[in-house]
C-alpha cells in the first residue's frame, strides 16, 4: 500500500484527535487539512519502514503549535485557562458538554498528552517522540491533566448538587 493511501486511512484518527484538541469542528477540520497538505509536501522526509502514524501526528502537532502561536498566544501558557461561566449539569446530554469544556480548559500541552494516550492509545514513548518531549514530561503532564480533569468534573457535580438543594 502506498503512503498516500495510508495517509487517507489515517484521516479519521487525525480528525478524532483534532476535534478533541481544538474543540470546534470547523477549526479541527482546518487543522486536519493543513496537516495533510504539509504531510503531503514533506512526505520525502518520512522514512519508509518507520511508523507513519507517529510521523503524521508529529506533523499535526507542529502545525497546531504554529497555528496556536500565530492566533492565540494565551493558549500556550502553562496555566489553566480562565474559568468559564458554567451551567449546572442537568443530565447525560450535558455530561459530554461538561467533558468537552473541561478538556478545553486544560493547558494545551497537557491536553495533547492525555488525548494521544487515551484516544490514540499511543505508548508513552510514542507520545514523547510525537511531541518531542522526554518520557518523564509525558508522565507528569498526563498525571496533571488527569488530576485537573478529575477535580473539574468533581466541581461540576458539586455545583449541580448545590443547585438542586437551592
Amino acid at each position: 500500500m502506498n503512503e498516500a493511501q495510508r495517509l487517507v486511512d489515517l484521516i479519521p484518527r487525525l480528525r478524532r484527535y483534532a476535534r478533541a484538541l481544538v474543540g470546534d469542528r470547523a477549526a479541527a477540520d482546518d487543522l486536519v487539512q493543513d496537516t495533510l497538505e504539509r504531510a503531503w509536501a514533506k512526505l520525502h522526509l518520512y522514512r519508509r519502514g518507520t511508523d507513519l502514524r507517529a510521523w503524521l501526528f508529529t506533523v499535526m502537532h507542529n502545525v497546531h503549535v504554529n497555528r496556536v502561536r500565530a492566533t492565540r498566544p494565551m493558549d500556550m501558557l502553562d496555566d489553566e485557562m480562565p474559568e468559564l461561566a458554567q451551567r449546572p449539569a442537568q443530565g447525560d446530554g450535558l455530561l459530554v458538554r461538561d467533558l468537552e469544556r473541561a478538556i478545553a480548559r486544560l493547558p494545551a500541552e497537557q491536553r495533547a498528552v492525555l488525548l494521544l494516550v487515551t484516544l490514540e492509545d499511543m505508548s508513552y514513548e510514542e507520545v514523547a517522540r510525537a511531541l518531542a518531549i522526554p518520557v518523564g514530561t509525558v508522565m507528569s503532564r498526563l498525571s496533571r491533566a488527569r488530576e485537573k480533569l478529575r477535580l473539574m468534573m468533581l466541581g461540576q457535580s458539586a455545583a449541580a448538587k448545590l443547585t438542586v438543594v437551592k
Binding site: 487539512q33 468537552e100 488527569r146 480533569l149 468534573m153
Partner: protein, 258 residues
C-alpha cells in the same frame, strides 16, 4: 508489613492498563489499602472511557473530499475536470443565450422554459461550488437548524434540508444565492466517496403549479428539476449517473411531500 513503593507514573500506567501482571498486582494491593487513591484511579479510568465515548464517533464520520484532495494526484485531476466542466457549461450557455437572442424571444417565455432556465442556473451553481475545497458552503451541517432557519427566512418560505442518508448522501451545508425571483437556497450533499450533489431551491413567481420531474444535461452536469407549489427545485450532480440522480431526486421529493 513491608511496603512496596508505587510511583505516580506507575499509577498512571495502571490506569491505562499498561503494567505487566506483577506490577499490576502490586499496585492493586497498594490501592486496596488506600480507598481514596483507588477512587482517584477509578475516576481516571472513567474519564478515559468518557473521552473515548465522546470522540470515537468522529471515526465514523464520512471523510470530506477536501481531505483526500489535499493528498495529491487524483484530486488535482478532479479539479481540472471541474474547471473543464464549468468552461464547457459556459460555452453551452453562451451558445444558448446567443441562439435565444437570435430568436429575439420576448420576456414572456413559456412555462417549460422557465424551468429550463432554473435548471441551467442550478447547473452553474453546482459547477461553481461543488469543486470548492475550503468553502463549499457558507453554513455547515453542524449548524443545520440555523442554516434552514436562515434560508427559510430569506426565501420567505418554510424550507427543509432533506435527509438523504438512505440514498447515500449526507448534508455538507448550504448557502444563499441570488436568483431570478429573489434569493435561492443551495444545499450541498456528499457521499462517502466524496461525490457531491446540490439542491437548488427557489420560490416560484407563479404559485400553485406542479410539474413532473424534468431532466436536463448542462455540460457535464445532470439536473433533475421540478416545481411543487410555491417552490422550484433542481438537483444537480457532475459525477452521478442519471439513474442514481433520479433515485436521489425521488428521495428528495418524497421527503418534502410526506
Amino acid at each position: 508489613m513491608s511496603e512496596v513503593q508505587i510511583t505516580e507514573s506507575e499509577l498512571q500506567a495502571y490506569a491505562d492498563g499498561r503494567l505487566d501482571l506483577a506490577r499490576s498486582a502490586a499496585v492493586e494491593a497498594w490501592l486496596a489499602a488506600r480507598p481514596d487513591q483507588a477512587e482517584r484511579v477509578a475516576e481516571y479510568r472513567r474519564i478515559a472511557e468518557a473521552l473515548r465515548a465522546a470522540y470515537d464517533p468522529v471515526l465514523q464520520e464520512p471523510v470530506p473530499e477536501r481531505f483526500t484532495q489535499a493528498l495529491g494526484a487524483q484530486p488535482r485531476l478532479q479539479r481540472y475536470a471541474a474547471v473543464a466542466a464549468w468552461m464547457a457549461l459556459g460555452i453551452a450557455i453562451g451558445g444558448v443565450a446567443g441562439w435565444q437572442l437570435h430568436e429575439s424571444r420576448p420576456a414572456s417565455a413559456p412555462v417549460a422554459d422557465v424551468g429550463a432556465v432554473m435548471a441551467r442556473r442550478a447547473a452553474i451553481a453546482h459547477a461553481t461550488y461543488s469543486p470548492e475545497v475550503r468553502h463549499p458552503v457558507e453554513v455547515g451541517a453542524d449548524q443545520e437548524a440555523h442554516l434552514v432557519g436562515w434560508l427559510s427566512k430569506r426565501l420567505g418560505a418554510p424550507l427543509r434540508a432533506p435527509k438523504l442518508e438512505a440514498v447515500g448522501y449526507s448534508l455538507v451545508g448550504g448557502r444563499l444565492l441570488p436568483g431570478d425571483n429573489g434569493p435561492v437556497a443551495h444545499f450541498m450533499y456528499q457521499s462517502n466517496h466524496g461525490t457531491r450533489i446540490t439542491l437548488y431551491v427557489r420560490t416560484e413567481a407563479a404559485s400553485n403549479r406542479e410539474t413532473a420531474f424534468r431532466y436536463a444535461k448542462e455540460g457535464n452536469v445532470r439536473v433533475f428539476y421540478w416545481v411543487d407549489r410555491k417552490l422550484g427545485y433542481a438537483l444537480s450532480s457532475g459525477d452521478t449517473s442519471k439513474d442514481d440522480l433520479f433515485k436521489v431526486a425521488n428521495a428528495v421529493y418524497q421527503q418534502l411531500n410526506p
